[in-house]
């Protein structure tokens, strides 16, 4: 299941990412479901827009967040999001 750094990521069909004013949080909406995203998850999902590769997304996050584990955390979140079907591969770069 491992995604390559060249994989271009986008939200799966039927998924929507948005800010919820009443909850003061970003959410992912999909058929009959909703998940709240914390700040770093939201920054990742925001970038799964069909134009960036996984490598580029991780790179950009490294610039906006500091800490030793940013890259590992981001990768494991992406893997989980992919396994759950929230995001998919748009096309091979």
């Amino acid at each position: 299941m491992a995604l390559s750094d060249q994989a271009v990521l986008s939200l799966s069909p039927g998924f929507r990412f948005q800010w919820e004013p009443a909850q003061q949080t970003h959410v992912l909406l999909f058929p009959e479901g909703m998940v709240k995203l914390n700040a770093s998850a939201a920054e990742i999902i925001r970038r799964c827009d069909g134009s960036r590769t996984l490598g580029a997304i991780i790179d950009e996050l490294g610039h906006s967040f500091t800490g030793d584990t940013v890259e590992d955390d981001a990768r494991s979140f992406v893997e989980r999001a992919y396994e759950r079907g929230w995001i998919c591969e748009a096309r091979a770069a």
Partner: protein
């Protein structure tokens, strides 16, 4: 819907709004969860009134919006409401039997911004489907499923299970594969409304359930990554009740066709509660302040054994409507729970339904009460209604 845990300090928000646009439906499913007396509520909300509901609920935090009914496609203003909802930021779900949905209408709905369509089936092939639906709709459903796919929607199929079709789960799943479904819900009938009236003829046996679950699990494994398969067991066969709506007035808000606001589908049946109507009150007051929405909120209303039970945070003592419908008291422990003083009622229901299986089950639908206006009037003369029942 997943949430970040129970988040007790934050006041609950109605994250899920279910808009039952009409009680009219061309189908007659005997397992329908609409109230048996639906025909008494004929004064349906207007387009403007629904728009007000959408705005008010969105302000309170509603994000998921289901349009259901009856059959929501009967409303000609559905496109208008979808467009309005979408502009407000809702994720819009259409919950339909597929009746009369053609290319032009689906195109208009798509343009209005509809996010998702859930299509229900009564049976895996024409004969059984149409007999239970009380109408010749199977071919139409297949056509709708193909349209849904063609318009690029994720396809969510809902198969309602009952005694006569539960042995055919494999056929259902084959059909789902053939149609290219993305999600399949194998939803055992829940016994409210019409389903409760027909319980003796709908409730499967434990053996049937176990077999069906095995089949569902096998397909789930085989189709992993291609199609998600959900299997919803009927709570009668569980030791613990379902966490009904994740707690009364906790995140689910239903507005019925006549504007009555309810914390769950069946709540109207509970006597002694006055459910507010969106025509008379603002949803903010209804959700936060109204006595009805606060009656079973949280844990203070509970009696023993729930009151001191560690599982109360998980199941909220089960379903209030089921407690009323089965035990005659909405503040009782849901009789589905094996710790409930009246758990015997559920065992008795299972025994009766199972005794009825051998003889008639596979043979015919004799005795099934179909959901239609005629039966609604026959079964629920206005005088029998509790004066507080609306």
């Amino acid at each position: 819907m997943s949430e970040d845990g129970f988040a007790k300090p934050a006041p609950p928000k109605p994250l899920w709004l279910l808009a039952e646009l009409t009680y009219a439906c061309p189908l007659q499913c005997p397992y329908c969860s609409n109230p048996a007396d639906f025909d008494h509520y004929r004064d349906h909300l207007t387009t403007e009134e629904w728009e007000r509901v959408l705005v008010q609920a969105r302000t309170l935090g509603a994000a998921q919006l289901g349009f259901s009914g009856g059959e929501p496609l009967i409303r000609r203003d559905l496109e208008t409401l979808v467009a309005r909802a979408r502009a407000l930021g809702y994720y819009t779900n259409l919950i339909t039997s597929g009746w009369a949905l053609d290319e032009a209408r689906l195109g208009a709905l798509k343009e209005a911004g509809l996010d998702h369509i859930q299509l229900s089936f009564q049976g895996p092939q024409q004969q059984l489907n149409d007999r239970m639906a009380g109408a010749a709709v199977f071919e139409q459903k297949l056509a709708v499923a193909r349209l849904v796919k063609r318009f690029g929607y994720p396809m969510v199929l809902n198969f309602v299970l009952y005694r006569e079709n539960i042995d055919r789960v494999a056929e259902f799943l084959d059909l789902a594969v053939e149609l290219g479904a993305d999600y399949v819900e194998l939803a055992n009938t829940q016994y409210y409304g019409w389903a409760l009236l027909n319980r003796d003829r709908l409730l499967p046996t434990r053996q049937q359930l176990e077999r069906a679950e095995l089949v569902a699990n096998e397909y789930r494994r085989r189709l992993a990554g291609r199609m998600k398969v959900y299997y919803v067991v009927p709570d009668y066969y569980e030791d613990r009740p379902k966490a009904c709506s994740n707690g009364w007035g906790n995140f689910f808000l239903l507005v019925a066709p006549d504007g009555t606001a309810l914390p769950c589908h069946a709540a109207r049946v509970i006597p002694g509660l006055v459910f507010p109507n969106v025509r008379q009150a603002n949803l903010s007051w209804i959700w936060k302040e109204s006595p009805a929405f606060n009656r079973f909120r949280g844990f203070d209303w509970m009696r023993e054994p729930c009151r001191s039970c560690p599982e109360r945070f998980k199941d909220f003592g089960g379903c209030r409507c089921q407690a009323y419908l089965l035990a005659g008291d909405a503040a009782d422990t849901d009789p589905v729970c094996s710790l409930a003083p009246r758990h015997g009622l559920v065992l008795e229901a299972i025994r009766r339904a199972t005794a009825a299986t051998g003889v008639e089950a596979a043979v015919s639908d004799t005795g099934l009460i179909f959901r239609n206006v005629h039966n609604s009037r026959r079964l629920t003369a206005p005088l029998e209604r509790s004066p507080l029942g609306r």
